[in-house]
């Protein structure tokens, strides 16, 4: 493997959202300027990140050291294939989300839009920081930054419901991070003298001869500690956080926040513990079965929800665990499937949330039972919703099919019929909670009142981004090479 290359672009990509947030705050109450700055920051971040792609696909790694705290303990940036899967997706979707949120927030005439834009940018700062972390400390730092800066977004409405949702959000996330990840991190530092990630997925960084039970304890603390990954039993913050405005739910709870969670979890599984250690201690299959509970339970709960955003939230809880499940299979196909699902789920789920927001702006409806026949009023929105649902279900030729295929093959490679059954059952459940929404929208009867009042789609600023993400959800299945290339470079 080549020696890592120092590259300032990592810092530029990291600072773009931070500087953007500062400028947004300074822009005061001028909406066009504010959204212009957000867009510029998003484009800068996406452009710099994307410019790293060719070299990384060619097997290179970039690093950029920032601060050295103690021996073996530093704040350092690193971009490798695994970071790029998350970084490119998050930065690209931010560009679309800028347009979408402008449409949504203006459409509903929301208050505190400056704070909203600034915190949005800061959340992306945290997310890209996680993606570009070179060690556990940097990862933890940005993970905590994401928790803190998204509080104002979740509590945006500043009413009793959003305060209690936001409080739950903070309580779950900081308790698990401080109570589990922090001590695990300190103990790993005591055992190894460093927190730097390994340079491949095999070796991990823990020295041989550490007591097995300590390693298992550390592992469990890391898996559960990054609670943004939505794993049960610490998943409850996610549905509560849905009180946030929909663009927040979309970007943060389909892309940034939850993906930070699974990214951190899988990064630590692969680059701190390593496939070899996990195989030696037989940690893979128990993890896979443990997350299977979340996959199935999340889907079942989603079935019972009539509120569209709540259904999507539980769908997210369930789908995130696919990613961890893939990695826990500990074979190349499984890991590739899991990591690809980071991107594939992001595109599909952001589309679904975008649709939920568009429906709300155009009709002020939140519940699925009230959406009967709306597909004919808002064909583009519900068309996009249908495409993204297909991807979530895993139907060919969408992106979801590719990742699910890899997961299934990975499960077979691992010789586990049990996991295979879990994947199949959950596919059926996915279909069961998504299909009725689409079916009712297109084939249900439009109520007389709706037929009278509704005039069509949400503003273009919202409809165009959701159509783009929906199309990408499909295209990614037809041309998966870029994503596959990155995923294959990881293992």
């Amino acid at each position: 493997m080549d020696a890592p290359i120092h590259d300032i672009r990592l810092l530029i990509a990291l600072l773009a959202p931070l500087v953007g947030a500062g400028l947004v705050m300074a822009s005061g109450k001028k909406p066009n300027l504010r959204e212009g700055i957000s867009l510029l920051a998003a484009l800068t971040m996406f452009g710099t990140t994307a410019s790293l792609l060719p070299a990384i696909l060619a097997g290179k790694t970039f690093v950029f050291p920032l601060f050295k705290l103690l021996p073996g303990l530093s704040i350092t940036l690193r971009a490798d294939a695994m970071s790029m899967i998350f970084a490119v997706v998050a930065s690209f979707l931010w560009v679309l989300a800028v347009f979408y949120s402008a449409g949504y927030m203006r459409g509903l005439d929301e208050h505190a839009q400056t704070r909203f834009n600034a915190c949005f940018a800061l959340a992306l700062f945290g997310a890209i920081g996680c993606a570009f972390s070179d060690n556990l400390l940097t990862l933890y730092l940005f993970y905590e930054i994401v928790s803190v800066v998204t509080y104002p977004l979740v509590a945006h409405h500043q009413d009793a419901e959003s305060y209690s949702g936001a409080q739950k959000y903070m309580t779950y996330l900081t308790t698990t991070a401080k109570g589990l990840v922090l001590p695990a991190m300190v103990l790993i530092y005591v055992l190894t003298g460093t927190l730097d990630f390994a340079h491949n997925v095999h070796t991990g960084i823990l020295p041989v001869g550490v007591n097995h039970w300590i390693v298992i304890g550390l592992y469990v603390a890391c898996i559960l500690g990054f609670a943004k990954n939505g794993l049960m039993p610490f998943h409850n913050w996610l549905p509560s956080a849905m009180v946030a405005p929909t663009p927040v739910s979309a970007l943060l709870h389909a892309v940034a926040v939850v993906k930070v969670g699974v990214f951190c979890t899988t990064r630590v599984m692969l680059y701190v513990f390593g496939v070899d250690t996990m195989t030696a201690l037989h940690l893979g299959m128990p993890t896979a079965y443990f997350v299977s509970i979340t996959i199935l339970a999340g889907s079942v709960i989603a079935l019972s929800k009539d509120n569209l955003k709540a259904r999507l939230a539980y769908s997210t809880v369930s789908q995130l665990s696919y990613i961890i499940l893939g990695v826990a299979l500990l074979n190349p196909t499984g890991v590739e499937g899991g990591l690809m699902h980071i991107a594939i789920h992001a595109f599909a789920k952001i589309t679904l949330f975008f649709c939920a927001g568009a429906i709300y702006v155009a009709t002020h409806k939140k519940n699925i039972s009230e959406m009967s026949g709306l597909g004919r009023v808002m064909p583009w929105t519900f068309g996009a919703f249908a495409l993204a649902s297909l991807s979530m279900i895993g139907a060919p030729p969408t992106g979801g099919f590719i990742s699910k295929l890899y997961l299934l093959v990975g499960a077979l490679d691992a010789g586990s019929i049990g996991i295979l059954l879990v994947l199949i059952t959950s596919t059926v459940l996915n279909a069961a909670y998504f299909a009725p929404v689409v079916y009712k929208a297109f084939f249900g009867k439009l109520s007389d009142e709706d037929a009278h009042h509704l005039h069509g789609e949400a503003p273009l600023a919202m409809v165009i981004p959701l159509c783009i993400t929906a199309v990408i959800s499909v295209v990614i299945g037809l041309y998966p090479n870029l994503l596959l290339g990155l995923a294959k470079a990881v293992f």
Partner: protein, 486 residues
Amino acid sequence: MTSDCTLSLLIFSPLAAAAVASLLRSERALRVWTLLATTAIALVSLPLFWRFDAGSAAFQFAENHTWIPWLGVHYAVGVDGISLLLVLLTTIITPLCVLASWTYIKKRVREFMIALLIMETAMLGVFCALDTVLFFVFWEAMLIPMSLMIGVWGGPRKIYAALKFFIYTMAGSIMLLVAIIAMRLKTGTFSLPDTMGYAFSPGFQALIFGAFFLSFAIKVPMFPFHTWLPAAHVEAPTAGSVILASVLLKMGTYGFLRFCLPIAPLATHTFAPYVLWLSVVGILYGGFAALAQKDMKKLVAYSSVAHMGFATLGIFALNVQGLEGATLVMINHGVTTGALFIMVGMLYERIHTRDLSQAAGIGSKIPIFAAFFGVFCLSSLAFPGTNSFIGEFLVLAAGFKVSKILVICAIPGVVAAAAYMLRVLQKVAYGSEDNPDHSGVKDLNLREIATLVPLLFFVLWIGLHPEPLLRVMHTSVVHLLQQTAR
């Protein structure tokens, strides 16, 4: 002996400044003069950081003169890597205290400034003294101006708080004096460095350890000797709280480092496990007590008990990381808690209450205040990238080396710290749907921003680049551990 008189200059300049202050008539002149004097002292002290030879464990900038010949008492001062940092903390905090009292203190300004300056002399004296009697003299000298500060300029229950503070500390001091005399009878000297080299019998060590421990544990304060602290903090004026939290508490932990460890090493090793558990109890107790507070000063006071628990945990882990971590926790607590007390004081000047529910939602009216407050709250809960994180990280790492169970038991305290600080931050920044009316409240002015900026600088500098501090203390810490290993 080299004749560098910087330390004496530092110690006695505040006293001289106090003498000048006693002649000044106008309140404004008094404030300006005290600010100038303390700032000048801070500026004189700063070069010590670079002049200090980090490679040597010896006491530097040392002076030694006979003071009371027939008793063998010397005026001996000097600093090592640990006390140097505490000296700098003191000189930097004091001018900020003057700034924080600018409008807060309205009556008896002259007396207040004089008390503050005498405090500075006493505090610097404690950290520099290398003679046990001299140490004791400065230690006691601190007591009266501090009690006065609480008793004269304090809140409604100031007399009760001042008395409680006085009696507690006095009780500890007597034990200290007894131990000092007992050591003198054994060794024939009051010199601190000489006493450190003396091999006392295990039984005697246990006795003087007990005496030292009691006296310093009250000062820290360690659970269960902490009850004077919330009372003193709540009643004290802002500058008093800041001095108390930032510097005075450090004297307890400094005492452990200077007396318990090197003078009674055997007893230290014997009693360390108990002190470690007591520290964990302090971390938990302080954390959960803070969680229940409505008065912001009380909340910060209880958080101090928890933070100082980390300091004692690090000290009695008796390894390099522990001692370095503990020293960093001491400095960090001085910076962060000092800043929080200053900010609570600023809030009090605006809304005349420290009740958290009365402050709800005020942040949206005064955004600059809210931004500073946010950073210091995050620093207090040891957010990564801030100063406290490094200190706590080192202490937890040191704790793991001693006992994993111990650290795991302390973790709920860490979580509680996040909980109570984020709760305060949430209340101040957002509150709830029915916030009290804060219209007309003014944001921070330039003087107030100037008070906070130096502390903000230290929060980030230590948080992101702690290496210079660790380098300065490293050799001294290693030397101290060698002395303790005897």
